[in-house]
């Protein structure tokens, strides 16, 4: 059972900030599918929850040219089903449709996932590979600057993600090996091909959270085919290791997933 807390449903960003600042140890609630289980296990104890889902600025999915903008409170299910997302970046829609289970996808949100920056979450890989801009109540932060290690981001205390704007690539692919128990990513690679080159981001594997594999990006920029990755390897010393996958296996899976993502652009590939 959770520790006691108060619940506040904000209607505007200002109201959300005010509620947040009124708490001793407040937390923002979006879909709640990471925060609430943690609270139920008594591993987190915010004294107040400020629910963001009703704030209008955090809703809506729009495309303008090569910019695809998704409101932070849009659920994974909404992103997966969105004609705009499917048309612009089909691999991103498929990624959203591969998160968790139906219950998670109908509650969990893109903003919540990015703010949490779980090292095994899917969205951080897409945000990094698609050169996303994370728009907040205060500023705009590039994905390259946003992710700062496991469960750590550039967000300041009380700052709220409002929208995520992706750069529409020429093509993109996402390949994932799932943890057989949790079905989070054991290792997954998002590969985006863009006019300026290739961006490749790995999630689930790195011991410092999501990261770009620059050697692979360089090789693919020269020759965009899976064979270009031959001989490239990540250092197991940079990988997580647990009973589901040791560091060497994770490093191997990163290479395999990257090759699959290159080979199946426009798609999600489950290994």
């Amino acid at each position: 059972m959770m520790y006691p807390f108060s619940y506040h449903r904000a209607r505007t960003l200002d109201e959300a900030r005010a509620y947040f600042e009124g708490g001793e140890d407040a937390a923002y609630l979006s879909g709640g599918h990471s925060l609430l289980p943690t609270m139920k296990n008594r591993l987190a104890a915010p004294d107040r929850l400020v629910h963001l889902a009703a704030i209008p600025e955090l809703r809506g999915i729009t495309r303008a040219g090569d910019r695809l903008s998704i409101g932070a409170a849009e659920t994974h299910a909404a992103v997966a089903a969105s004609p705009e997302v499917r048309g612009a970046i089909p691999a991103l829609a498929a990624l959203a449709g591969s998160i968790g289970d139906p219950q998670v996808r109908h509650r969990g949100t893109i903003g919540g996932s990015l703010a949490n920056n779980d090292p095994a979450a899917d969205y951080p890989a897409a945000a990094l590979a698609l050169d996303a801009v994370i728009e907040t109540s205060e500023r705009a932060i590039s994905a390259d600057n946003f992710f700062q290690g496991m469960f750590t981001t550039a967000l300041d205390e009380g700052e709220i993600i409002t929208r995520v704007t992706f750069t529409v690539p020429d093509s993109a692919g996402y390949a994932k090996m799932r943890n057989p128990a949790s079905r989070y990513a054991l290792a997954a690679s998002f590969v985006a091909r863009r006019p300026g080159g290739v961006r490749l981001a790995i999630t689930g594997a790195g011991n410092n959270g999501v990261f770009r594999w620059s050697e692979a990006e360089a090789a693919l920029a020269t020759r965009f085919e899976r064979g270009a990755l031959a001989g490239l390897a990540l250092d197991p010393g940079d990988m997580m290791s647990d009973m589901h996958a040791d560091a060497r296996y994770r490093a191997h899976l990163c290479a395999v997933a990257s090759a699959e993502a290159v080979g199946h652009q426009g798609k999600l590939t489950l290994l």
């Binding site: 008594r42 057989p180 989070y184 064979g227 009973m243 040791d246 290479a255 080979g263």
Partner: protein, 821 residues
């Protein structure tokens, strides 16, 4: 020994005669039609037995009308929360509850000292199986084993992570949990041991100060001299060592208990789902030191059991005790985390086996050394015992010798778990047979065929004394191979290789035993409105008793099945009953319900004779009515029943002879050597369940059983960190479960070789899905990886384990291009 004269399992001292056809069947082994009072069964009149009737309980359950323990609420109830040990092994210096007691809403904090002061006893688990068909397990010195008293709350030390050392009672669940965190325990950490191979060594930390060693059972069976001679003369000896990993039941409904005390009558009522309310009543009354009449236990719908709920839990005793002290209802519902930590767990057997063969591949003798990890206390030796009687599997092995040990460790207690003990030994013998086949260059099917117990040798006494009642083992194997499309394996292997996949096939024969508590009682009441109520002491947790039992009674009384209602789970109604475990329910309940039905019909016939003015022998019974032959006078059963004097019959039956369900299962897997991902692509099985009362239910049970066995083979594992002794798979984030999209559509068939031991010829169903599955999956994986030099892999076979096995065998990391060429 008198037991041996009656013809049960040989005791350790006896040694045993070579295996073969059993010519000296024990007294009372075969079903005696005359003595039972049932008379000849009119199989041709069966209208319901054998039919796939839909389960009548399902509508209630899927529309939220089930009555699970947590659904019950009593006015004024409090809530219990446990203070649990964070250490695998630690002495309790003292417990300070003062801060907890100051919290608003806290009613009481109770410790082991309070329990001692109130004279509470340990849970009388009675873990040593004791029917004359169970192998005799004894302490190293030959005495009855020390089991480690299972007190509700220990006062000396905690012996596993999660062991409750105090209980908080509060007005709300939240207050109880808050207060539990404030209870200060003065812990002194002690060295711990989790693995049984380490625990049996002399230098291992001792779990119990009361004993010199952690080994609580050390018994040997079989004729060692004959075995040694056979090994000395053998052309080939195959050897292997296995660990059958520890798993937990992960029931959908976590365990829960609600105790209500009526101060006026001095009676307690316990709402607690279990595997059998009668045992709960008996053992909990003993813990509390109250007469059994002062305790009523209610167990209605139960959301999964698989063995984990058969034994009494400390929390059940704690809420009963607290409610009597406080004179208020007290409720406890485990969280999923508590379930992972402290539900009784399953398996965890180390097995070292050796098989001697002659030059033609005939099995000569088997040696086995089995070590069961019972955890911190010995709750049940059923897994070790059940497995011990079946070490030779489906094969004729003239001589066998087994050393069976049980050992304490600083882990949660283990208990019988879906097909107690049998998957473990099936895994050992079937893997050993595959190893022997490979080492000797004999086809693995041919080797099995050469050694299966032939039908003509039934009933067959195996080398450790178990009497297999009936079965057509080779026919099972042939039929399973046919439905599996065995002959097309190489074509499928080639096709998979074209897709870059490694295909492998694993076949396992199995025989298992269903023994179970020998006593069962049925009470049947037929009301004037024609409705029939059957009170029975089994306890379903998804097996569909309300349907299949009704089918039996309906056919015995020749009435529509809709009129039969099965009453279970209330000890005020069910006075005696063995509960549901070991595949006993259909056989024991079916038999005693048939007996009670026959008694009821005898009574009805007397009344009918009186009513119709005809001699009882002149009446015929058909369609639920008696009629005078060559008259048009007739009377229905309902008409023979009155409100004041309804038709009623009760029968208690004791039936000792075990039955031996058997069969064959085959699994096909595909492994991607690049990702090391594994998928089951085909699964076929044939299960000889004896007479099948409801094939729809039996198939459903088999399917679930397969998933449970496959789950252990591929995902499930109670992993423990060897350094800290902390469980690593304490939630569904880390404990992998079988899921619908990981399993194929099964090709299952039922074989019905009737058992001569009971009137319907029933054996058992469901657990047969689990028993061979650990072996089939593992053998299929090894078949797939053989070409890459892999010869061994341990469960659960996750992609990580496949990666590791390939690496250990020197296979370099595959890439897609290499794999496809």
């Amino acid at each position: 020994m008198t037991e041996q004269k009656k013809g049960g399992i040989p005791t350790p001292e006896d040694g045993s005669s070579p295996a073969g056809p059993c010519t000296d069947l024990p007294e009372g082994w075969a079903y005696d039609e005359g003595a039972s009072g049932i008379g000849p069964l009119s199989v041709e009149l069966f209208r319901n037995i054998g039919k796939p009737l839909k389960r009548r309980e399902d509508h209630r359950l899927v529309t939220g009308k089930g009555q699970f323990t947590d659904d019950f609420t009593r006015p004024g109830q409090c809530f219990a929360a446990m203070v649990r040990s964070p250490y695998p092994h630690a002495r309790i210096g003292g417990i300070d509850a003062s801060a907890a007691l100051e919290l608003p809403g806290v009613v009481a904090v109770l410790t082991g000292s309070d329990a001692e002061a109130d004279g509470l006893g340990p849970i009388p688990h009675n873990p040593v199986p004791s029917t004359r068909f169970d192998v005799k397990l004894r302490a190293p010195d030959g005495s009855m084993p020390f089991i480690g008293p299972h007190v509700l709350l220990p006062t000396d030390k905690a012996r596993h992570v999660g062991e409750a050392v105090a209980v908080v009672i509060a007005e709300s669940k939240g207050a109880a949990e808050d207060a539990a965190e404030l209870v200060e325990v003065d812990w002194e950490e002690l060295p711990h041991v989790a693995d049984s191979l380490e625990a049996i060594t002399d230098s291992a930390p001792r779990v119990w100060d009361e004993t010199a060693k952690n080994t609580l059972v050390d018994s040997s069976f079989g004729d060692q001299a004959a075995v040694d001679a056979a090994f000395a003369a053998a052309a080939h000896v195959a050897k292997a060592e296995f660990h059958i990993n520890r798993v937990t039941a992960v029931t959908m409904e976590p365990r829960a208990a609600l105790a209500d005390y009526d101060a006026e009558s001095g009676r307690s009522t316990l709402y607690a789902g279990s595997g059998g309310a009668v045992r709960q009543k008996r053992e909990l009354a003993q813990v509390l030191g109250i007469p059994q009449e002062d305790l009523r236990v209610l167990s209605y719908d139960v959301g999964g059991n698989f063995g984990a709920r058969n034994r009494v839990y400390v929390e059940f005793g704690l809420v009963l005790w607290a409610s009597r002290r406080l004179k208020r209802p007290v409720k406890y519902t485990a969280t999923r985390s508590e379930a992972f930590l402290t539900d009784y767990q399953g398996r965890d057997l180390h097995s070292r086996v050796e098989l001697a063969l002659d030059a033609d591949g005939h099995f000569l003798a088997l040696r086995a050394d089995n070590i069961s990890n019972v955890g911190a206390r010995c709750v049940s030796l059923s897994p070790l015992s059940k497995g011990s009687g079946l070490i030779t599997g489906s094969y004729h092995i003239p001589h066998a010798h087994l050393r069976a040990r049980a050992v304490f460790t600083n882990t949660m207690c283990t208990q019988a778990y879906r097909s107690s003990g049998r998957p473990e030994v099936t895994y050992a013998i079937e893997r050993l047979v595959d190893i022997a086949a490979e080492e000797m260059g004999i086809d693995k099917i041919a080797l099995r065929r050469r050694n299966l117990v032939p039908p003509g040798d039934m009933p067959y006494r195996n080398a450790v004394g178990s009497i297999y009642d009936s079965g057509q083992y080779e026919a099972n194997m042939d039929r399973a191979m046919a439905i599996f499309d065995w002959s097309a394996i190489e074509a499928r292997r080639a096709e998979a290789a074209g897709r870059g996949k490694l295909l492998g096939v694993g076949l396992a024969n199995y025989v298992e035993s269903s023994i179970g508590t020998p006593k069962e009682r049925a009470e049947i009441t037929l009301s004037p409105d024609g409705r029939i109520e059957v009170v029975i002491g089994t306890q379903p947790s998804g097996q569909g008793h309300e349907t299949s039992f009704a089918q039996v009674v309906a056919d015995m009384l020749q009435t529509p099945v809709e009129r039969v209602r099965i009453v279970i789970g209330d000890t005020d109604k069910v006075s005696l009953g063995g509960g549901s475990h070991s595949g006993r329910s259909m056989r024991h309940a079916g038999t005693v319900m048939a007996m009670a039905s026959a008694d009821l019909l005898r009574l009805a016939r007397e009344r009918a004779a009186e009513r119709l003015g005809l001699p009882p022998g002149d009446l015929s019974f058909e369609g639920g009515a008696f009629s005078g032959r060559e008259t048009n006078r007739s009377v229905t059963l309902a008409e023979l029943s009155t409100e004041d004097d309804p038709l009623f019959a009760a029968r208690t039956n004791e039936m000792h002879a075990p039955v031996f369900p058997n069969g064959t299962a085959i699994c096909e897997v595909e492994i991607d050597p690049v990702t090391c991902q594994i998928g089951i692509t085909r699964y076929a099985s044939i299960d000889d369940v004896g007479r099948c009362i409801n094939p729809l239910i039996v198939h459903g049970q088999s399917h679930g059983g397969i998933a449970q066995g496959v789950g252990q083979a591929m995902w499930e594992n109670c992993a423990i960190d060897p350094e800290s002794g902390q469980p690593l798979s304490g939630s569904l984030m880390d404990y992998g479960m079988p899921r619908a999209d990981n399993l194929p559509f099964y090709d299952c068939e039922i074989a019905e070789v009737l058992s001569p031991t009971n009137p319907f010829g029933i054996k058992a169903g469901g657990e047969g899905g689990t028993t061979p599955a650990l072996a089939t999956v593992t053998l299929a994986v090894l078949d797939a990886l053989r070409a890459h030099g892999v010869r061994d892999i341990s469960m659960p076979i996750t992609p990580q384990r496949i990666w590791q096995a390939l690496s250990d065998a020197g296979a370099t990391a595959f890439d897609r291009e290499t794999a496809e060429t």
